[in-house]
């Protein structure tokens, strides 16, 4: 294919040899979000100072967003509490791109929620659009066909001035990307609260369907196997974005790793058409058995894909950056490795299959390039201009990052919060007041119709949607030859979570489970997106730990496992954190979609029953 060679890498590229001979060079690790002791740790691992490219890789991979360094100790609770019984239908769980559930008859379903909060504040349309794009690639990387999306949105009050910029932009972005990919939108949430005014939440869920034998996991094994980069060209998009956006407050995103590069926009522009073509191309590659391992390129671009593939495999890896098709001129190795250009995937392919792989890509007009291979060494070695610019043990980049047990403390304000109960609120006392209250509630932003949003989303495409909006849960037929289906709901009442994060998280889980069950489905798995303020605030860390505990114990009681999810910290405006927002997505199975329960009253004369107390 059209592997257009890169411009010669900058003459000044910082090589491993150069790094070894200039141990005292000052490096801007602080600006990349690394702390003193983290930088010292990198020097210790390498036995020398890192090159610029290595520093960029470690910085982005050790960021909060990629390394889960503040949340890891808590997220372990999910693993510890999940029993073999709960796990019995799981083909893949936490740690993979997305959890995979065996649903019988050789079918499996994979789903995951992810956040794209900060980018959606900077550029609501593109931020939300690329959020959908990212989660869809995660699902593709499991070997699945993405079949539907959902979106959980949280913005400032409806009448706050910036909401008029953020909400329509986010909705148009979700719609633009999802509609153009041909993925029906099954539902979601729109929630208004002042704490989201400067920090909206855009959580996107994608669900995919696969045949069990097509399950693909991200690993690079087999010495001599080729590493193929395919999809869009690599440009200067969102360079350093992940570490800057997700680890510090955004705004001063000095996007450059090279000293002379002018300030780059930290936005990425989505190209859903390229992604649609990439989906079809990947599915054809899977069907033809041409893929050994695969990884999507997400937040940390090639840094993440190469280090994760290599550390999950059994050998080393060599990559030649001169072969990476570029969209911009004069990109440094560090920039190529950190680029967040969208709509790219990285595959491991046996040498004898490379030609067939390229032929499939050609059929779909997808640019594909061999950029390296699996070696029998231990290290990930990356060259540019014929010189080695990265030579690192891949696990130290991808998995053995720093882990923090951050201090946590129940905020003093919690007692006052709990003391204020509904008993203090005025209540309607006359029928007229009651009527007025009902009308006011119905018209209030939290309860008003969501048609303005859902009318912008395609819910019909592919012809398998049997329940979308309005409804308790989205219901989807898996295949039109059978009536087997799935139901999905996402929920969170963050005001409950503020009052009591543990109970709030349990309630979010219970609500999503009820919504799925009310649609006639059997709940089987959970994915979550934990949106919180700064982990450096002990009060926020306490909320986080409590919410995880609540979710973990709730899952045990219900007998369904958490299969994966996402943590988004640093959601705050100055020092004010958002409401603790653990969004819970629940997947349910429907044996016969023709018998699934529809939302709303049926026919006149039907009896109405109230169940429970």
């Amino acid at each position: 294919m059209t592997a257009q060679a890169a411009e010669p890498a900058l003459e000044s590229a910082d090589t491993v040899a150069h790094a070894a001979s200039t141990p005292d060079r000052e490096q801007p690790y602080g600006a990349l979000g690394l702390r003193d002791e983290e930088y010292a740790r990198i020097r210790e691992i390498l036995g020398r100072r890192p090159t610029d490219a290595e520093l960029a890789m470690y910085a982005v991979m050790w960021s909060e967003h990629c390394s889960y360094k503040s949340s890891k100790v808590h997220l372990r609770r999910f693993g510890e509490t999940t029993t073999d019984e709960m796990r019995r239908h799981l083909l893949a769980g936490i740690g993979e791109n997305a959890g995979v559930v065996d649903v019988g008859d050789g079918w499996a379903v994979t789903f995951k929620i992810e956040s794209h909060n900060h980018p959606s504040y900077v550029e609501p349309h593109q931020g939300a659009a690329t959020g959908v794009g990212g989660i869809v690639r995660d699902i593709m990387a499991m070997g699945a066909r993405p079949v539907a999306v959902m979106d959980g949105l949280r913005v400032g009050p409806l009448d706050a001035p910036d909401t008029a910029r953020v909400l329509p932009g986010v909705v148009s972005g979700v719609g633009f990307y999802g509609n153009c990919l041909g993925l029906p939108n099954l539902g979601g949430e729109v929630v208004f609260d002042p704490t989201y005014a400067g920090n909206p939440l855009v959580n996107a869920l994608c669900v995919g369907v696969l045949r069990v034998e097509d399950l693909h996991l991200a690993f690079a094994s087999g010495v001599g196997n080729k590493i193929v980069l395919f999809g869009a060209r690599t440009g200067l998009d969102g360079i350093g974005g992940v570490s800057v956006l997700a680890s510090e407050t955004f705004g001063d995103a000095d996007g450059s790793s090279g000293p002379s590069r002018k300030k780059l926009p930290s936005v990425q522009v989505g190209d859903p058409f390229a992604e649609k073509v990439l989906i079809e191309c990947c599915l054809e590659l899977y069907r033809a058995g041409l893929v050994v391992g695969i990884q999507d390129l997400g937040g940390a671009g090639l840094s993440c894909a190469t280090s994760e593939l290599a550390s999950a495999g059994d050998g080393g890896m060599e990559i030649d950056l001169d072969t990476v098709p570029l969209r911009a001129t004069g990109m440094t190795p560090a920039e190529i490795l950190s680029s967040e250009s969208q709509e790219r995937m990285c595959a491991v392919v046996t040498p004898e299959n490379v030609d067939a792989f390229m032929a499939v890509c050609e059929r779909w007009d997808v640019t594909a390039t061999v950029i390296g291979e699996v070696t029998d060494g231990e290290n990930l070695r990356i060259t540019a201009g014929g010189e080695v610019v990265v030579d690192v043990p891949p696990r130290t980049v991808a998995h053995d990052g720093p882990v923090y047990s951050r201090p946590l403390a129940r905020p003093d304000s919690q007692d006052a919060l709990q003391a204020a109960t509904t008993a203090d609120l005025a209540r309607p006392t006359t029928p007229a007041e009651l009527a007025e209250t009902v009308v006011r509630l119905a018209a209030s932003p939290p309860l008003a119709s969501r048609a303005w949003v859902t009318d912008q989303y395609d819910r019909y495409v592919r012809g398998n949607t049997t329940g979308a909006t309005p409804g308790d849960a989205g219901v989807l037929r898996l295949d039109d030859a059978a009536d087997r289906g799935i139901a999905l709901a996402i929920d969170c009442n963050a005001r409950f979570c503020l009052l009591d994060p543990r109970e709030g998280a349990r309630l979010a889980l219970a609500e999503a489970v009820r919504n799925v069950a009310a649609s006639g489905a059997r709940p089987v798995a959970v994915s979550d997106c934990l949106n919180f303020g700064s982990p450096e605030d002990p009060g926020v860390m306490w909320q986080f730990a409590e919410a995880v505990e609540g979710l973990a114990t709730g899952c045990v009681e219900l007998g369904i496992p958490v299969t994966g999810g996402n943590v988004s910290f640093y959601n705050q405006t100055a020092t004010t954190a958002i409401l603790p927002t653990p969004v819970v997505g629940v997947l349910g199975l429907v044996d016969d979609v023709r018998r699934a329960v529809r939302h709303g009253f049926g026919a006149p004369g039907d009896a109405v029953w109230l169940l429970g107390e």
């Binding site: 550029e123 593109q126 440009g235 200067l236 998009d237 926009p265 990425q268 522009v269 058409f273």
Partner: protein
Amino acid sequence: MARVIVDVLPKAEILDPQGQAVARAMGRLGVTGVADVRQGKHFVLEVDDSVGDAELERIAETLLANPVMEEWVVRRDGGVTQQ
């Protein structure tokens, strides 16, 4: 009344899927010799003579272009007033 033109283009570093789609279509149409295409927006404003250059620039920056991703040129009657 004066006619003012504002041309808006995606910044050079920013992906331009529209321009790329057009460039690829050229090849399929049998057109050779077009190396690159960028697609932006073209606004034609009819404005009172009272509207000054600074005001036009403000309109372009806040309404017609998205400064995060785009750059623009404001022209009056064919003369460039500001970049």
